[in-house]
């Protein structure tokens, strides 16, 4: 994709390189092993080096001043800073050099710390010799540097948020409030996500929908925010600031303009099917809203179960609707959006236990998952908040929770801890005990993780005030009594080193969190990397938790990893801030250290397109010939394509084949600097 050229900033003075070498002591980090003075002296004898100094701390104000002074006074046009890893101070020295009037890409760094002094701490003499060699290599390479200029791309001040759970809603609200047009795409008929299904939230016991619904309504009223519910993203193309997104709006068979959400249609509908929102426990009609607080409050017809749409005559809802809003002929519509930033908040799915597995989930009616429990104890749920056993609808008096189901298990290939299960089990135990203090509750755990604010206090209260039992042992076998439906759990109480068998009326599996079904298509469209646990991978696990390898694409909430609501909200706000920063500037600077393809040598074999991890190279037709073309904004300068190209048609800017060969020659040369070692 052709990119607009930015202003060139070429001050690369003349053809004769005048190189300045600055060897940093870094206190004793380098200076304690490498003899920096000696190395600097040796470097001064290399051909082309005009200035060679050693500095105590090159990155400090003092050090940077010296570098800038040398540039101005000696007219230096190449700088080699021999210090720490570029990952730390590349930008520091580039800025320093640019301030002195030199193109920042004429500055390169030689790593004397991580690649020299820190790994050869016991061999100072050899380390010093190696430092000299490294500097010599750097000097030779610097002679072949060219001035580069960063490109600028325009940034469309529009944001796309994919997924409308709590994270997506919060992110969309924040971005829209800052004044940017925002699209919030959600595949379900209503926004709200899994949080809408929960009863209460830990550790405070806040009612989930009570705190979520106001945000949902706010989202529907927010200026600049357009909610595209019952829609899916089908294609994403482009790069930062310029993404082309195709959104498919699925047909509700209800005209959204005319529907007022009165509900008469659903009363008349003759078809009853299990309600997905109630995880199969409750029923809904073929024309429905998933839950009463749905936003947008528009009805949807489930085409698979609707009689009319399946060819059998019905039409009850159309007859009943006073606004004539039913439209059986409605077609899916495609929207083409142009956005500058994308926030992915596609959330999680819970683990579904195996058939014929240890926990008898499919065999025994009275073994349920935590999400099913949430619906059963929710006042708006299928039983009106009255907890009953599925088998005989009686009240369970003895309930067991089993932790770490579908988490921390190498046999299932799911190694991660889902982070929220210990707390939600305790929270649910508290709710059940509040309803009926006579209930006996036992939690079978491996480890209790109560790390957050207020978590440990809940853990204490649940034992002190509510008398919940904690059994440390992973259940080995669940057997169901066919007559009573009661379940016997056999487990070793590891703290007593005895095997116990206890009977329960109801067993709740605290299922783990897995990346949602909706995440994978988006991940494939963007070629986003995933972490080993399957969730989308952040750019840096410590310092850049919501950015991705693709500029302009951000992730938040459970799409990035399992987490609870406050952490999801915090991440959502962080992505909104990052996206807004990008869009406020309206121009985004793209690093010029990208791959550069020589069209004359390129034969269009396509090997580079296969190996590029970022999807940044495409084969395009150029005047009847197939050539590889790099989209600089997507290129991360990893060099994989340059290494793979059999025609050597690709060069990595600032690490070109010639430059690297010059380094290798310098390393192997036995040239001894006069007066040096």
């Amino acid at each position: 994709m052709a990119m607009p050229n930015a202003e060139l900033k070429d001050n690369g003075g003349g053809t004769e390189p005048k190189i300045g070498v600055f060897v940093c002591h870094c206190g004793t980090n380098i200076g304690g092993v490498v003899d920096c003075e000696k190395v600097a002296k040796a470097a001064s004898t290399i051909e082309g080096v005009a200035v060679s100094k050693d500095l105590k701390y090159a990155c400090s104000d003092l050090g940077q001043d010296e570098i800038q002074k040398a540039i101005k006074e000696e007219g230096l046009n190449r700088i080699v800073v021999a210090s720490c890893s570029p990952r730390l101070h590349e930008f520091t020295f580039r800025n320093c050099v640019e301030e002195a009037g030199l193109n920042p890409y004429f500055m390169i760094m030689v790593n004397l710390r991580e690649q020299c002094s820190w790994v050869h701490m016991k061999e100072p003499e050899d380390a010093t010799a190696k430092a000299s060699d490294l500097i010599r290599m750097g000097v030779e390479r610097s002679k072949l540097l060219s001035s580069l200029s960063p490109r600028e791309v325009a940034v469309e001040p529009t944001c796309l948020v994919i997924g409308a759970g709590i994270a997506g809603i919060q992110a969309a609200l924040d971005v829209a409030q800052k004044g940017f047009k925002t699209y919030l795409v959600e595949k379900e008929p209503s926004i709200g996500g899994h949080m809408a299904q929960l009863d209460k939230t830990f550790p405070t016991g806040d009612c989930a929908i009570c705190i979520l619904a106001p945000k949902m309504v706010e989202a529907s009223r927010q200026k600049n925010l357009e909610i595209l519910a019952y829609s899916e993203v089908v294609d994403i193309d482009g790069y930062v600031g310029n993404f082309n997104v195709k959104v498919r709006m699925k047909p509700r068979y209800v005209d959204e303009e005319k529907c007022v959400g009165c509900g008469v249609c659903t009363e008349k509908c003759p078809v009853k099917v299990p309600n997905e929102f109630d995880v199969g426990f409750g029923m809904r009609k073929a024309i429905y809203v998933p839950f009463p607080q749905a936003v947008p409050l528009k009805y949807t017809i489930d085409a698979e179960n609707c009689r009319q749409l399946q060819g059998k005559k019905c039409g009850a809802c159309a007859k009943a609707c006073i606004n004539d809003a039913i439209d059986y002929e409605q077609q899916p519509r495609d929207l083409d959006l142009k956005v500058g930033t994308i926030i992915i908040a596609t959330g999680f799915d819970t683990y579904i236990p195996m058939k014929k597995g240890v926990y008898s989930y499919w065999e025994s009616e009275n073994v349920i998952t935590a999400m099913e429990l949430e619906r059963l104890i929710n006042a708006a749920g299928p039983t009106g908040g009255h907890l009953i056993r599925p088998s005989d609808k009686t009240e369970p008096k003895r309930i067991a929770f089993i932790q770490c189901v579908g988490s921390r298990n190498h046999k299932l290939g799911i190694q991660h801890c889902s982070r929220v299960c210990c707390m939600y089990a305790m929270k649910n135990a508290q709710i059940i005990k509040e309803h009926d203090p006579e209930t006996d509750i036992a939690i079978y755990y491996n480890d209790i993780r109560a790390f957050g604010k207020g978590f440990e206090e809940l853990y204490h209260r649940i034992r002190m005030d509510y008398g919940v039992e904690f059994i440390r042992g992973r259940p080995a076998r669940l057997t169901t009594d066919p007559e009573t439906g009661n379940i016997t759990i056999r487990a070793e109480e590891t703290l007593l080193a005895k095997i116990t068998e206890r009977d329960f009326d109801l067993v709740v599996l605290s299922v783990g969190l897995l990346p949602s079904q909706g995440t994978m298509p988006i991940q494939k469209m963007l070629s986003l990397p995933t972490s080993p646990d399957g969730f989308l991978q952040e750019l840096h696990p410590k310092l850049r938790p919501i950015e991705t390898a693709i500029d302009g694409v951000f992730i938040c909430g459970c799409a990035q990893g399992p987490k609870d609501i406050p952490d999801s909200v915090a991440q959502a706000k962080a992505t909104a801030s990052e996206a807004s920063t990008l869009m406020i500037r309206s121009k985004h600077v793209v690093e010029p250290l990208t791959a550069s393809i020589n069209d004359e040598l390129c034969v269009g074999c396509g090997l580079c397109t296969d190996v590029c991890p970022y999807g940044a190279i495409e084969l395009q037709d150029k005047d009847g010939q197939i050539k590889a073309v790099v989209t600089e904004a997507l290129c991360h300068g990893c060099g994989t394509c340059a290494a793979a190209c059999p025609q050597r048609a690709i060069d990595q800017l600032q690490f070109s084949n010639r430059q690297i060969m010059s380094e290798i020659s310098a390393a192997l040369s036995h040239e001894k600097a006069a007066g040096g070692e």
């Binding site: 195996m354 058939k355 014929k356 597995g357 240890v358 057997t479």
Partner: protein
């Protein structure tokens, strides 16, 4: 690909009827499979003793048996869970070049070398060496022959017979070696039983261990017997007529242990014997008098015997 019989130690020396049944079923009067006898097969070697005490020795002895099969490019057909697990595990250990080298060094003293069976790669002249294929009799019947073929040979359908299937442990686990059946819900032997006309009863904890393996029967026989007793109780609750198992060692355990805790034992036979009965064999040749728990009540139930 012909099958090389691997009868192991227990069957020829304690329950020869099982050997007859297997030979008859796979022979010309039964399914007429291509089979071969390798008379130089030694003990597999029994994992409870050798795998437990010195892996190198165990592997060398197992590799020796595999070399014999390798010569004729045969698939080894075992009729015992223990032999199956032992030889299969050995092929997996021998996949690692270092281990194979070490073992071949030992085998060189008897002029043998394990290399596997060469197979031509598709579309090229290159050959790869596949490990010797080790199969269990049940798997051969189910996958290679198929239930329909069995059904067509049934002349004595076992109507009304209640069979309790005991799979044994090494048929099901560890799943990184053996994948004949789902370890949580195995079906193959049950389906064979059903296609013979009998009913396979479900009893509590049907996948439990008989207690004999791993050296337990030899070391602490009371422990092995107590586990068998548990199984027996669960099986007799369902009023099964016979216990059927694909492992002769489990068979031996069930056959010998019952007298320690009950006067009315349930007869135990191998899958092959059950199949042979249904396929019309002369029952006198199944060596059922050698079984400690009398098989008479079982035979009395079968029409035409």
């Amino acid at each position: 690909m012909s099958y090389a019989y691997f009868f192991g130690c227990v069957v020829p020396s304690r329950y020869p009827g099982v050997e007859f049944a297997v030979r008859w079923i796979t022979g010309p009067e039964g399914l007429d499979l291509e089979t071969k006898d390798i008379s130089e097969f030694s003990c597999c070697p029994v994992p409870g003793i050798f795998y437990s005490t010195d892996r190198d020795t165990w592997l060398a002895l197992a590799a020796r048996n595999l070399c014999l099969a390798q010569r004729g490019k045969n698939e080894v057909m075992t009729i015992c869970n223990g032999c199956f697990s032992s030889l299969l595990k050995a092929t997996e250990y021998l996949d690692d070049p270092k281990t194979r080298g070490r073992t071949n060094k030992v085998l060189s003293k008897i002029d043998k070398k394990y290399i596997g069976i060469p197979e031509k790669m598709e579309g090229s002249n290159r050959r790869v060496f596949k490990p010797v294929s080790v199969r269990h009799f049940v798997d051969v019947i189910y996958r290679d022959v198929g239930l329909d073929a069995i059904k067509s040979k049934v002349t004595r359908p076992l109507e009304g017979m209640k069979v309790a299937v005991h799979y044994g442990c090494h048929y099901l686990r560890p799943t990184e070696n053996t994948t004949i059946d789902d370890p949580n819900n195995p079906e193959k032997v049950d389906e064979i039983v059903r296609c013979l006309g009998a009913e396979s009863v479900d009893y509590e904890d049907r996948l439990a261990c008989c207690g004999a393996g791993g050296g337990v029967r030899s070391h602490v026989i009371e422990l092995a017997n107590s586990l068998t007793e548990e199984k027996f109780k669960n099986i007799s609750n369902e009023e099964a007529d016979v216990i059927v198992t694909p492992c002769p060692f489990c068979l031996l355990q069930f056959d010998n242990a019952q007298k320690a805790f009950t006067k009315r034992g349930i007869p135990v036979i191998h899958v092959a014997q059950l199949m042979a009965i249904a396929m019309g064999v002369d029952v006198k040749k199944l060596g059922l008098d050698l079984h400690n728990v009398s098989c008479y009540p079982l035979l009395a139930k079968i029409k035409g015997v």
